[in-house]
């Protein structure tokens, strides 16, 4: 078995796949720099991310994977889970070695692992589309911050841009310290120097907000309470749909 160490980027991971073939490696264990614990006996091979090599592998994969599987590959990568790098490497080699269509083999451990992890990331993305609560600021920007389990921000622009085409908005990931800003024309990545803290009352200070903001968040809390039917109360179902770790996002759960 050979040990490969890469920088944790998608380009690096694809470069690693390329080098498996270049170096005629058999069994490879792939770890990212961040998770690598130096070993006295096994120095390991350092993969240097290479745009051209990465591109060739990606092109090769795209020949054999449909759009949905290409997206699954990317989504699994965004999970940031250390064990998924190994699955992605093995999955890529399996797909390249087999004739097209091999991604349907759900009995294969790497195919299954990628499809299940992609599903988890997809669900987190979908939750962000549901649970983001914008607050309108005094200068007319709609602002929300999040702390998603996975790095789903790169998956969000299309959805929010299509929907909120005529308003400026920011969605900021406090955990990973970067955000998205839509300026009525395009969405860009931004860093905030002084990002607010995620707190129990997930709100910006009142002096930063639009004068109507308080009214609408009150009305929303009222609506949430009135539309409930007490005779059907079912907290288990409620918590299954809205797990407690997301309550901090939801202004209706703060009232």
């Amino acid at each position: 078995m050979e040990l490969y160490i890469f920088d944790g980027s998608l380009e690096g991971l694809l470069t690693a796949v390329f080098e498996c073939y270049q170096r005629k490696s058999q069994v490879v264990k792939l770890v990212s720099e961040a998770h690598y614990v130096p070993d006295v006996f096994d120095a390991g091979h350092r993969v240097v991310s290479d745009f051209e090599k990465g591109k060739r592998v990606w092109k090769g994969l795209c020949h054999k994977l449909d759009k949905e599987w290409q997206l699954r590959f990317y989504k699994s990568f965004l999970s940031e889970q250390p064990e998924i790098f190994q699955h992605l490497l093995q999955f890529a080699r399996y797909i390249i070695d087999q004739p097209a269509g091999a991604s349907e083999n759900f009995a294969h451990p790497d195919v299954l692992a990628i499809s299940q992890m992609a599903q988890k990331v997809h669900r987190e993305k979908h939750r962000m589309e549901a649970f983001v609560r914008f607050q309108k600021t005094a200068d007319g920007i709609y602002y929300a911050h999040i702390e998603p389990d996975f790095d789903v921000l790169p998956l969000l622009p299309e959805h929010f841009q299509n929907r909120y085409a005529d308003q400026r908005w920011i969605i900021y990931d406090l955990k990973r310290s970067y955000g998205l800003y839509y300026d009525l024309d395009k969405t860009e990545e931004i860093d905030l120097d002084t990002a607010p803290q995620m707190s129990i009352v997930n709100a910006l200070p009142a002096d930063l907000l639009d004068s109507k903001e308080e009214l609408y968040s009150l009305l929303w809390q009222d609506y949430f309470k009135t539309t409930n039917i007490p005779a059907r109360k079912n907290m288990r179902l409620h918590v299954r749909h809205v797990p407690r770790r997301y309550w901090k996002y939801l202004s209706e759960k703060q009232g």
């Binding site: 759900f106 299509n162 308003q167 009150l218 005779a231 109360k233």
Partner: protein
């Protein structure tokens, strides 16, 4: 200064909440005018109330004043409650401001009937027209069809709404006449039919001319109240099935009756809503729509009601053990779909994966099927040798002993004394 609007929203959201539809999917309205909102594709549940129901749309009545006196309805004329009415501007403001903050997918607008049907429908249409044309709102709009409204108004409504619905309320004409003598199923069928025909007409024109406007792109739905009148599950599902077939409905909703009246014709206030029964009806509805079951297979004169202790798919399998076991590695897809414990997604994965090699127990477990339930009905590459056929009662006993029902002996919203 907030008190007035807060009180109105309180009254008119409370009165609207018994309409259970919350779907915001199935439309194809894209944000093409750089406006606000996008109703394309799958819906989003933005939150869930403490009763576990999804909140996707701002669901309100324009007013709860009503000239009718339907015994099952909280807004009935004879009920002594606070009445309120929104202005057109108030509904538009609420919708836009909730939508811009990502609280909702759109608006579900219904109304009590004041003055007459056309007067009410005309107000509803005015709101949705303002949303679409002045606010350039492309979010989802579910609009109630007011029975008896003119075809001109229905036509205009259909040009702005994504979905329209009109409720059957009681599963049979007999039940409806008992509780709402002023209403009939016929006056529900008429607008359903008119709108369905228009949808078909617009679709066929669209095939020829690209610029044909949208007309109720997410289709129509209806709602049946369960447990207010004594109909059997068979009567309920047969009615649903007829309406699915005759009017191409997207959904039939089943609403367990929540007692809201001391009327002697109805269950008394404080009695438990029939939640298990409602759940079983939805499961049966899914079997008809996604699993290829005919309604006659699920319910018939021998079995006029759904089992409370097991779901209808398991119930069907236990009654038809001669059709099992199904061999996972060779069986027909439609038969695999009928195995209790295997859903649509798993069934698809199974037929894809088996092209690459025979499937064993560990594959099936990892694929995510409910193996402990399914194992009684399937054969796979390493199935254990089975010397005798088990009978239905035995299998049911094993499954019930192994699984903990989500329905406890006491409903969990009822306080326990000890």
């Amino acid at each position: 200064m907030y008190e007035r609007i807060r009180e109105k929203l309180g009254i008119l959201a409370d009165a609207a909440k018994y309409d259970v539809s919350c779907s915001s999917s199935g439309s194809n309205r894209k944000n093409e005018n750089k406006g606000i909102g996008d109703a394309e594709g799958t819906g989003i549940c933005h939150t869930y109330t403490e009763d576990g129901r999804c909140v996707s749309l701002l669901k309100i009545l324009l007013t709860n004043h009503c000239i009718f006196d339907c015994a099952f309805c909280v807004s009935r004329r004879s009920n002594d409650i606070k009445r309120a009415a929104f202005t057109v501007e108030e509904v538009v403001e609420l919708t836009m401001n909730f939508y811009r903050r990502n609280y909702i997918e759109g608006l579900f607008l219904s109304s009590g009937i004041f003055k007459n049907a056309d007067y009410t429908m005309e107000r509803l249409v005015r709101i949705v027209k303002k949303l679409r044309e002045e606010e350039r709102f492309n979010g989802y709009i579910h609009l109630k069809t007011i029975p008896g409204a003119s075809e001109e108004l229905l036509h205009e409504a259909g040009l702005y709404a994504d979905r329209m619905s009109i409720n059957l309320e009681m599963p049979t004409e007999r039940g409806l006449k008992l509780l709402a003598p002023e209403k009939s199923h016929a006056e529900v069928e008429k607008p359903l039919d008119y709108i369905q025909n228009s949808i078909t007409k617009f679709e066929s024109e669209k095939a020829l001319i690209k610029s044909v406007p949208k007309f109720v792109p997410a289709g129509q739905s209806t709602q049946i109240v369960v447990g207010a009148t004594p109909e059997s599950d068979k009567e309920i599902l047969y009615t649903a099935n007829t309406f699915y077939q005759n009017f191409s409905l997207k959904r039939v909703y089943y609403s367990g009756y929540i007692p809201i009246s001391y009327d002697a014709r109805l269950p008394i206030i404080g009695s438990q809503p029939p939640l298990i029964r409602e759940n079983r009806l939805y499961q049966a509805d899914w079997l008809m729509r996604f699993y290829g079951f005919k309604v006659q297979e699920i319910l018939n004169d021998l079995h006029p009601n759904l089992d409370a202790d097991v779901d209808p798919k398991l119930s069907w399998a236990l009654r038809n053990l001669d059709q099992f076991p199904v061999d996972i590695n060779t069986g027909d897809y439609h038969m695999i779909l009928r195995v209790p414990g295997i859903g649509v997604a798993s069934a698809l994965k199974i037929v894809q994966a088996r092209k690459f090699g025979r499937l064993y127990e560990n594959h099936l477990r990892k694929l995510g099927i409910a193996f402990r339930r399914a194992r009684h009905f399937i054969r796979y590459a390493d199935s254990p040798m089975q010397l005798k056929d088990y009978e239905a009662g035995h299998i049911k006993g094993v499954i019930l002993a192994e699984s903990k029902s989500k329905y406890q002996a006491n409903p969990h919203n009822q306080l326990s004394l000890f």
